[in-house]
């Protein structure tokens, strides 16, 4: 069976020979035109004059489009209809597209785009959290507040109490392949769009709207992306729509790719956050009550900011049972790029908030931070799979989704149906955990999250024990203390961080997927589903599922490009859900075909379908053995369909985002990391020395690919918190808009000792082959690097470092000086 085998990435042979095609590599018909945007140079204001004569006169320019030239919808927003493709009178950030140049080459389009003369009546931009709060500039009418228990009483009663604040920066995706799209006009006004996107259905939808066509006239295809990380969930809309509109107007194929500077200036990034905390705890560091206030700069348009901020709230507990908790979230509207999806989708920011609290409490009590975490953990799962069913909390269906759909909203966007939507899928099959038997049960109440979801599958107690033992934590911590006592200049630090990450889209109806599978008469298999490949290995994992269902080698399965014409109404490949959802849909499609084959072959052999077995490329029909190809041919000749669709929807979900109550997640994925660092107290420079990770991928569909996700996720997470700094000036100009000023981890930044292992327990939830989602959760393990840096700084003096992120050398140096007092 090919599932669980560490097979290489399906595109590896193409990548190592340079044959893999990205959007910019697709051969284009003669006469293809190229696009570039002219961008706003002020962060907030009204356009009072536009002179594009120099642009129109420039070499190679075929057409120049402004908002007035757009034939239908001027909107590329995934949710709120607040993001015009081209500005309409007002501008809201530096980098906002105002006009679009169509030219005979990429370079001439870009050069001409610089020649536009725009006059603005400038207004004072809202750039900071303070400014946004002062102006009450926000999305939604006020802050979202969720709470559990009696927080104020718990805070007052607690033996100890402290307050603090952490600031954490945003993050540029820096997918190595920038945003790109290619539109090919077809007969009768139809349009084919190739887009580097995680969300082909949204591209199809936005293009259809912009062309005034039904969705069936537009087809979006994506074979692969050169990295996505969330940055290609909604940010590719503008390019695809611009290309389609220009292709319609000129009748020529149109292509657009952002060069790196434009990409960084125009597109949204990870949300930066400020989190204030107030915590009451006992002598062991056990949290009694806690209050978080999260502030995030969402940028100028809503995009996916509401669900991002929700997910930050949903992860404010991370791995800890908080008996009394209140989480307040301010979603602030600022004149900056519209912050968007990025691996973890707000989860990392929420997790970092509570990890900071654990670190701060441990420092205040002089305890080992790992111990403080362990006493605060959720209680471990008990009882396993046989436990009783529990009904879901909310009514099963709500029609508000239908209504939103009629407004022309993209229902497949995570930003859809911004308020009040309640959709449930099925009733609960959740396993109960054994709170009654737990010693802490009376003290800290039920094992529920601040949003009322029972935690039934918590794996971190055992994982932590194993990781601490395998990385020799206790001895190394002692050795580091000794080393620090002897070394005045260089200081070492060690940090531990766990992650418990909720798996499912929080917009419940997105938890569905479709697949299309064909078996041809020669026994070869054609596989298609709604997931997109951005390097994560989704296609290979799903192909392994298909091969396993038919009992053939994975080489018999042809993986094909995601195509809205084959599988419709897909959700974005996001929320780590790719293999969970699409794997199940493909399994269903394969099983339909396999059952038809079995019935047909059994009938011919006058036996029953249960006597038909598919294994090792053969089909056993009673005593007879056929090759899979012979079996397929025989079934075909007997006029049985060898093509099927498959569909899956995640069960047991029920979520009310306004009240902050329910069961938004099907299960949790876990991980734990220990990082050791060294800092130079004279310069603030620092190095990661060693990292050990134990990560929970359930019964992995492909351990090699999953370990790749863990390693890559950790390094990207550590980059977010160390070297990757976004700087805007006081005019709202992003000053770090190229890799010369924005530093992602290079090979020299990765830990020289890097031990990664997978936890060996199957998922208690009934996922595809009991695997777990793995795209986002390991990202948060990078938090251990920040905690290690904080530990090293703490070795310099008595005060708490309160290190903000990213912990650049400047910040580390400042913190060192601060702790020395």
């Amino acid at each position: 069976m090919s599932v669980a085998k560490p097979l290489p990435h399906d595109s590896a042979p193409l990548h190592v020979t340079g044959q893999a095609r990205y959007i910019d590599d697709i051969p284009t018909p003669a006469g293809t035109l190229h696009l570039a945007f002219g961008l706003s140079t002020v962060a907030r204001g009204t356009i009072i004059g536009v002179d594009l004569s120099a642009v129109r006169a420039a070499t190679g320019v075929v057409a120049v489009l402004t908002a007035a030239d757009l034939p239908f919808a001027n909107d590329v927003s995934p949710s709120n209809h607040d993001e015009p493709l081209l500005a309409t009178g007002t501008v809201h950030y530096i980098g906002q597209p105002i006009f679009c140049v169509v030219a005979t080459s990429h370079l001439s389009a870009r050069k001409a785009a610089r020649l536009g003369k725009i006059d603005y009546a400038e207004e004072t931009p809202i750039l900071t959290i303070e400014a946004a709060l002062a102006a009450n500039s926000r999305f939604e009418d006020g802050p979202r507040i969720w709470s559990k228990g009696d927080v104020d009483a718990a805070l007052t009663r607690a033996p100890h109490r402290l307050q603090g604040r952490i600031e954490m920066g945003g993050q540029e995706h820096f997918y190595l392949e920038g945003q790109a799209a290619l539109a090919l006009p077809q007969e009768g006004g139809d349009m084919i769009v190739h887009s580097s996107t995680q969300h082909p259905t949204e591209i199809q939808h936005k293009v259809a709207e912009a062309l005034g066509l039904p969705m069936n006239a537009v087809r979006c295809e994506v074979r692969r992306m050169g990295g996505g990380f969330g940055g290609k969930e909604s940010q590719g809309n503008a390019l695809a729509v611009a290309c389609a509109v220009a292709a319609r107007l000129t009748g020529k194929p149109c292509k657009m790719r952002y060069d790196r500077d434009d990409d960084m200036i125009i597109t949204g990034k990870r949300h930066d956050f400020r989190i204030d905390y107030d915590v009451g705890y006992d002598d062991r560091g056990r949290v009694q009550g806690i209050e978080f206030t999260q502030y995030t700069r969402c940028g100028w348009a809503m995009d996916l900011s509401l669900p991002v901020a929700d997910r930050a709230m949903l992860h404010a507990d991370n791995a800890y049972l908080l008996p009394h908790a209140r989480i307040t979230s301010h979603r602030l509207k600022t004149n900056t790029q519209s912050a968007t999806a990025y691996r973890g989708f707000g989860g990392p920011q929420g997790v970092l908030g509570v990890e900071r609290v654990m670190d701060h409490v441990a420092h205040a009590l002089g305890l080992d931070p790992v111990q403080v975490r362990q006493v605060n953990y959720y209680r471990a799962a008990e009882g396993g799979l046989s436990a009783p069913h529990r009904p879901a909390a909310s009514p099963p269906e709500d029609i508000s989704g239908t209504k939103a759909g009629q407004d022309g909203q993209d229902m497949t966007s995570r930003g859809a149906a911004g308020g009040g939507q309640r959709i449930s899928s099925g009733t609960g099959g959740a396993r109960r955990f054994g709170a009654e038997h737990s010693p802490q049960a009376e003290d800290y109440g039920p094992n529920t999250t601040p949003y009322g979801m029972e935690v039934t599958d918590f794996a971190l107690h055992a994982m932590t024990d194993r990781l601490l033992a395998s990385c020799d934590y206790a001895a190394r911590r002692a050795a580091i203390a000794e080393w620090n006592a002897a070394n005045p200049i260089l200081k070492r630090g060690i940090g531990f961080s766990p992650v418990k990450f909720g798996i499912s889209f929080t917009l419940t109806h997105l938890n569905q997927a479709g697949a299309l599978v064909h078996v041809y008469q020669d026994g070869s298999i054609h596989l298609n589903h709604g997931g997109t490949e951005m390097g994560q290995g989704l296609f290979q994992k799903v192909a392994q599922v298909a091969a396993s269902r038919f009992g053939v080698d994975v080489s018999a399965v042809k993986i094909t490009a995601t195509d809205t014409g084959k599988v419709p109404n897909t959700s974005a490949t996001a929320a780590s859900s790719g293999s969970d959802l699409n794997g199940m849909a493909v399994q269903a499609a394969c099983d339909t075909i396999r059952d038809r084959m079995a019935a047909c072959l059994a009938d011919l052999a006058q036996t029953t379908p249960d006597k038909v077995r598919f294994a090792e490329g053969r089909v056993h029909v009673g005593a007879e053995v056929l090759s899979f190809a012979e079996a397929a041919a025989r079934v075909y000749v007997n006029r049985v369909s060898l093509s099927a669709t498959g569909f899956y929807k995640t069960p047991d979900l029920s979520w009310d985002r306004i009240r902050g109550q329910g069961r938004p997640f099907y299960y949790f994925a876990h991980g734990a990391a220990v990082t050791e660092v060294v800092i130079d107290t004279l310069t603030g420079e620092n190095r990661i020395l060693r990292t050990d990770i134990l990560h929970d991928a359930g019964a992995s569909l492909n351990p090699a690919l999953d370990i790749g996700q863990v390693e890559g996720g950790y390094v990207q997470g550590a980059g977010w918190l160390t070297t990757e700094e976004l700087v805007w000036d006081d005019k709202g100009r992003l000053r770090t808009h190229a890799p010369s000023t924005y530093k992602i981890p290079a090979v020299s930044d990765r830990p020289p000792v890097f031990n990664v292992a997978l936890w060996d327990q199957a998922n208690p939830a009934a996922t595809v082959y009991r695997s777990k989602a793995v795209g986002e959760p390991p990202f948060m393990l990078g938090i251990s690097a920040l905690l290690a840096l904080s530990d090293a700084v703490a070795a310099c003096g008595p005060a708490y470092p309160a290190l903000d992120a990213p912990a650049t050398p400047e910040r580390i140096l400042t913190a060192v000086q601060k702790v020395r007092g």
Binding site: P13, G712, V715
Partner: protein
């Protein structure tokens, strides 16, 4: 737009073209020579996705003009693959899962070959130093360093 006629030996074959004098080498390879294996990630010399070999030296295709390559011998990922020079490395990258989205891979292979073919040793610190100009946003680099090490160890094994 000023143009100049150039002739470049690309992967063993002569490519003649009249190119704008400002066109960089990687654009020449991608558009005039039709070889899209070399990628463009940043276009100012930081990411390494455009790395190719010019007259035996490892070069960033976005920092060299096509006219500067007039008369030169250029090898891209397609050439390394066709000649078999990258076979061991390609196998190791595949086996080690040293690629995910693959966008960095052609440049990474070119840099790694430059190291290996100049007698680089299986010293992980030296390998890291050598490829520190090639960004990969996906893998976390661990598998890339191991893959390069594998190839050197295979070569030097008795």
């Amino acid at each position: 737009m000023k143009t100049k006629d150039i002739s470049v030996i690309v992967n063993g074959e002569e490519v003649r073209a009249s190119v704008p004098v400002r066109r960089n080498l990687v654009d020449f390879l991608r558009t005039d020579a039709g070889l899209t294996g070399s990628h463009v990630g940043c276009e100012h010399g930081v990411c390494g996705a455009c790395t190719v070999e010019v007259n035996g030296a490892t070069v960033r295709g976005c920092l060299m003009l096509a006219v500067q390559a007039d008369g030169a011998t250029v090898t891209t990922v397609e050439g390394f693959a066709a000649s078999g020079r990258s076979a061991a490395l390609a196998a190791a990258f595949t086996r080690r899962n040293a690629l995910q989205c693959g966008f960095c891979t052609p440049g990474m292979l070119a840099s790694a070959l430059g190291y290996i073919d100049r007698g680089g040793t299986a010293d992980r610190a030296a390998i890291r130093e050598h490829i520190s100009g090639n960004y990969c946003r996906c893998t976390g680099y661990q598998s890339i360093v191991e893959a390069i090490c594998d190839v050197i160890e295979e070569r030097t094994a008795p």
